[in-house]
């Protein structure tokens, strides 16, 4: 007798358990504090609110890291300017609401437009530069944006070097009074984008993106206009990061100019390196570890936490070059051979492998 195919629930049991846990999380935390589900529902449980806040930050980071995994992990576009996608979303949302009094839907429309425009802006250089050159050009673009938002001339709108403050978000998703609703809004957005991304990477378009990551010339030889595929990935990534930025503005009392800096692009890179580059799940796992590690270490070690954090990231990349999800998929602790292959893969993705360069010529 042939074994029957696993059911949907069996196939996706970890994802489903995670989702149910996340739905119940605010209420479970409330129970530990002695608050009834009704009290949690009406945002009266302090501990639950705190955990919801931490989780919202993780959802935003995960959404942002997903967007980076799409262009770097799946399409092979190494961008050092990815934080600009996020910051444009964050600043635009804040300015639209605060300075122009737009409602959320109008802001959302503007956000979509800006996300497409900035993807096209990055797209202009796509046919001309590749690899590390593309990374540097995108860094240049985001640096210009960083300078613009820091400028005093635009200080009334952007808050210059202090950051954008005083954005009054609509009551129904106010992090102060309706945090649970915001929690579920952020969770829903993350789940929807995750499903969209999963569909995208498994689609014929996603397959071509993976082929471009491995060897763009070969993809062209099969008749694909690779520019259009890279632009599609960039646009989807830009929209996602801009929405993550908008959520950031809604949740945080201040939008720092640091969100447009290189450091915040490195954050996305670190998250997917921890979780696993080109896995999608890695962006989610990486965001959880990144935020919780940062939160835990800062709480107990103060400023020296950054040093320990850095050391942990180095160890993860050294011993788990496929990331946590990648190692999980290997179903065993990686052997030295697998580690070497993982390092080689990372070097190739960063355009630092001689083998890759030679094979592309």
């Amino acid at each position: 007798m042939t074994p029957s195919a696993p059911s949907f629930v069996q196939q996706h049991r970890i994802a489903l358990i995670s989702l149910v846990t996340l739905i119940l999380l605010p209420f479970i935390v409330g129970v530990f504090e002695g608050a009834s589900p009704l009290e949690v529902w009406s945002n009266r449980s302090g501990a639950s609110k705190f955990v919801q806040g931490l989780a919202i930050e993780i959802f935003i980071l995960a959404l942002y890291a997903l967007s980076y995994d799409l262009i770097f992990g799946f399409t092979g576009l190494l961008s050092f300017g990815h934080s600009m996608f996020f910051a444009v979303g964050a600043y635009l949302t804040g300015i639209a609401i605060k300075s122009f009094g737009l409602n959320l839907w109008q802001t959302f429309g503007l956000l979509m437009l800006a996300a497409v425009v900035q993807a096209l802006l990055f797209g202009i250089v796509l046919p001309r530069v590749k690899g590390i050159t593309f990374a540097l050009v995108t860094l240049g673009m985001s640096s210009v944006f960083h300078i613009v938002i820091m400028s005093r001339e635009l200080g009334d709108y952007t808050g210059a070097d202090v950051g954008l403050q005083g954005v009054i978000v609509p009551d129904f998703i106010s992090p102060a009074t309706e945090r649970l609703r915001l929690y579920f809004v952020a969770l829903t957005i993350l789940v929807l984008f995750y499903l969209l991304y999963r569909r995208f990477v498994d689609s014929p378009t996603g397959r071509v993106c993976k082929a471009i990551r491995e060897n763009e010339g070969r993809a062209q030889m099969l008749g694909y206009n690779t520019f259009l595929f890279k632009l599609t990935a960039l646009t989807l990534s830009s929209i996602t990061a801009a929405i993550a930025g908008a959520l950031h503005t809604i949740y945080q009392p201040i939008v720092s100019p640091d969100t447009a800096g290189l450091g915040f692009t490195v954050t996305a890179l670190l998250i997917i390196l921890i979780g696993g580059v080109g896995t999608l799940n890695g962006a989610l796992v990486g965001a959880v570890i990144f935020r919780l590690l940062d939160f835990g270490l800062r709480r107990y070690l103060g400023e020296s936490a950054s040093f320990i954090n850095g050391a942990i990231y180095v160890l993860i990349v050294l011993f788990l070059p496929y990331g946590i999800v990648g190692a999980w998929q290997l179903k065993a602790a990686p052997t030295f051979q697998q580690m070497r292959q993982g390092w080689q893969r990372l070097l190739e993705m960063f355009g630092l492998s001689r083998v890759r360069r030679a094979s592309k010529e």
């Binding site: 993976k210 491995e214 010339g217 070969r218 030889m221 099969l222 008749g223 694909y224």
Partner: protein, 234 residues
Amino acid sequence: MTPILELRDIHTFIGQYHILQGVSFTAPHGAITALLGRNGAGKTTTLKTIMGLTPPRAGEIRFEGRRIDGKRPFEIAALGIGFVPEHRAIFRDLTVEENLKIAERKKGDYARKQEMIFSLFPDLKRLIHLRGTNLSGGQQQMLAIARALVADNRLLLIDEPSEGLAPVVIEGLMSAIRQLAADSTVILVEQNFLVASQLAEHYVIIEEGRSVKSGRMQDLVNDRAAIHRYLGAA
């Protein structure tokens, strides 16, 4: 009969190097034409030039009467020219099935050609869910050729198919290439003269970036002096 492909006085540069210095030949419809020559003569560059990967600076390339020089690689491929590069250029991160599906030019190409591909390369059916990186050299070469068969290519450019393969694998590949030629025209770059002479009906010899001799393969096989002079084989 009009040739499917015609190259006229092609000059190609790679960086500052003048690699092709006047390549001209025609490839007859429905036949296998072998590009022969010593290492570094410009055979692979000729194929890359046809595909638009190293565009020519001078000369004309016509495919079915239409000029294709100056077009980009994906436009040339979309006209119905398949390229199987040397070094088994498959996508290592994709499975065998994904490698085949990605070559679809029209939806359903893979489903339509599946049976024919697996009858030519039965091994691939067994390995369908394996990633490219886990295949042996011979299997990777089979996959590279099979991929070029998925779309309806009227011209196939195959670069060094036997390179680094065991004799028994080469036998299988040769029979597959022969079957391919029944449906499309093939231009083959092959260092192994024995393999080339058994496969091709026509030949073009390239020497130092110039096409110096062409004709029917049978005539070349009988011309020991030419083989010795141009290919260094006795």
